[in-house]
Amino acid sequence: MKCQKCEKSATFHITELTGGKPLELHLCEEHARDYLTEAEPEQSSSTGLAGALANQLAAVGQTAEELARLDQQACPICGITFFEFRNQGRLGCPHDYVCFRKELDPLILNIHGEIEHTGKTPKRSVGSTDRQTELIRKRRELKEAISGEDYERASKLRDEIRQIETLKGDGPKGASEAK
């Protein structure tokens, strides 16, 4: 039997069932290959983070001015600006999910189709999140104080950090002893 599309002999016999009636096809290897790999018309949507984010921001219809203002917003804890996040696609600290919530929620919804966690939760109480973020902020301020040679402030911050760390009670020793 010859291929339905050329003079070569048909080595592939395909029965297409997706249409209304079953359709018999007799093709040579080359044409069978073309038939089987025929690209489907729809484009796969870009699920990349940058793409999703760009779409999201465009959808909100922000003016350049609004976008510029948004870009300058910074997290009070880690200091990352929204612009930096947009560029690198990585957040700076856990608190970003709180302080950029308005901007991040549509993005998260776009990526996951959901906005609420329904999976596992840590067994131990998470402890005070404020205290954890406070530690991140004070460590950053300490670093700034040292590089600014403000040693008086640095020593004060160091004491405060130590105090929070011992207060926590969920540190390494507390945890392993509790077990």
């Binding site: 080595t11 592939f12 290897e29 290959r33 089987l36 790999t37 690209a39 489907e40 796969s44 699920t47 983070l49 804890i77 880690c78 200091g79 990352i80 690198q88 696609g89 990585r90 957040l91 700076g92 600290c93 856990p94 999910y97 709180v98 991040l104 993005l107 998260i108 990526i111 996951h112 189709g113 959901e114 906005i115 609420e116 966690h117 329904t118 999976g119 596992k120 939760t121 840590p122 067994k123 131990r124 998470v126 402890g127 999140t129 954890q132 530690l135 991140i136 460590r139 950053r140 670093k143 926590k168 969920d170 390494p172 945890a175 392993s176 077990k179």
Partner: protein, 359 residues
């Protein structure tokens, strides 16, 4: 951890056993976790990174009588040793290429690895041979509980586990299955498979290459969504689609055997012939030919070869492994000669003997 000894054993994912192991190479689950009291890696100072590494190393690298781990300080490794761990899939390329304090804790059987200071503070990974997602999930869940009893994770009631990239937030879980799909590639159905998996929000990527240019026809199928579904559902989502893909691959193989047996047998035999006789050969060509040979073994066309032997050849012929085994650093052209020698030696042994384990 002694890399020279490690180089002579084969990692878990190469064992070539477990359910459906002719097509499913390995099942892997990873969890992304961060400590609550440190910035994410992108905002972490070198001092923060050292502190994170130290904290994790002290608290989560030893679980007496439950899980024995060996710690490797990745920052102190030579590039060739980092590459070696990447080839074995014990660390990611990202961790290998990163700067500053970082490390990995690995169990003896190379099934569990805990990476510190990768994209997130902690990445826990469990890898098993064949299709074994359910047991991988139970194992990693227990390890996560152990770790969590010793550190405080960044967690939010609404969004779950907080990660550096919003694409991982929620469960922080990536479930993936690595499959060998040469017949779907030969019959050019692989792109079609890609598109249908994307529609149900599963990601497909080649093992060493990008997109459909996967080296050795190895593909990894994984979940894209991490938020809004329970971990068990994500395991099921990936697990449910695997039998269908296995069936497609089997059908494509049957089709090749039935309708173009000579072409298929010729392809397998030529691949085997080149691997047994070549005097210099690149890593890419080796992977490509080994893929045909692996399928040929599974179809009974090369009775004297065993799957574990072929699986081992895939990894021992990678650049860092080859250099570890030969005991010297080699440039690319010397590697190609050494690789060909290695292949000849292991494929021309007396028939029926399986064992690339001997150097």
């Amino acid at each position: 951890m002694d890399f020279e000894t490690l180089a002579r054993t084969s990692g878990e994912w190469l064992r070539g056993s477990g359910p459906e192991s002719d097509i499913v190479i390995s099942s892997r689950i990873r969890l992304a976790r961060n400590l609550a009291d440190f910035p994410f890696i992108s905002r972490a100072t070198p001092a923060d990174r050292s502190e994170i590494e130290r904290t994790l190393r002290e608290r989560v690298t030893s679980f007496p009588e439950v899980l024995e781990l060996n710690y490797v300080d990745v920052a102190k490794l030579e590039p060739i040793d980092r590459q070696f761990l990447v080839e074995r899939q014990l660390i990611s390329r990202e961790l290998s290429d990163a700067q500053g304090a970082r490390g990995v804790a690995i169990d003896e059987r190379e099934q569990v690895s805990l990476m510190f200071n990768e994209e997130d503070h902690l990445r826990i990974q469990v890898m098993q041979s064949g299709l074994a997602l359910e047991s991988a999930w139970q194992r990693i869940n227990r390890i996560d509980d152990l770790v969590e009893s010793r550190v405080t994770y960044a967690f939010n009631d609404r969004l779950g586990y907080l990660t550096a990239c919003p694409t991982n937030v929620g469960t922080g879980m990536r479930v993936s299955v690595m499959m060998h799909l040469p017949a779907l590639v030969i019959t050019r159905q692989i792109d079609k498979l890609f598109r249908s998996l994307q529609k149900i929000s599963l990601a497909v990527r080649g093992l060493y290459g990008e997109g459909s240019q996967a080296m050795g026809d190895f593909y990894q199928i994984s979940n894209q969504i991490t938020l809004g579904r329970a971990e068990a559902d994500l395991v099921k989502q990936v697990g449910d689609v695997v039998p269908t893909i296995i069936e497609y691959e089997r059908k494509a193989r049957e089709f090749l055997v039935r309708d173009s047996h000579e072409t298929l047998h010729d392809r397998v035999s030529r691949a085997y012939g080149i691997l047994r006789t070549a005097q210099t050969i690149s890593s890419e060509e080796t992977m490509h030919l080994l893929s045909s040979v692996r399928m040929g073994v599974n179809l009974g066309l090369i009775p004297e070869l065993q799957i574990p032997t072929v699986n081992e050849l895939f990894i021992y012929t990678q650049p860092a492994h080859l250099q570890k085994l030969s005991g010297v650093e080699l440039d690319s052209s010397d590697r190609n000669i050494e690789r060909a020698r290695y292949l000849r030696r292991h494929l021309n042994k007396e028939e029926g003997q399986s064992g690339a384990h001997r150097n």
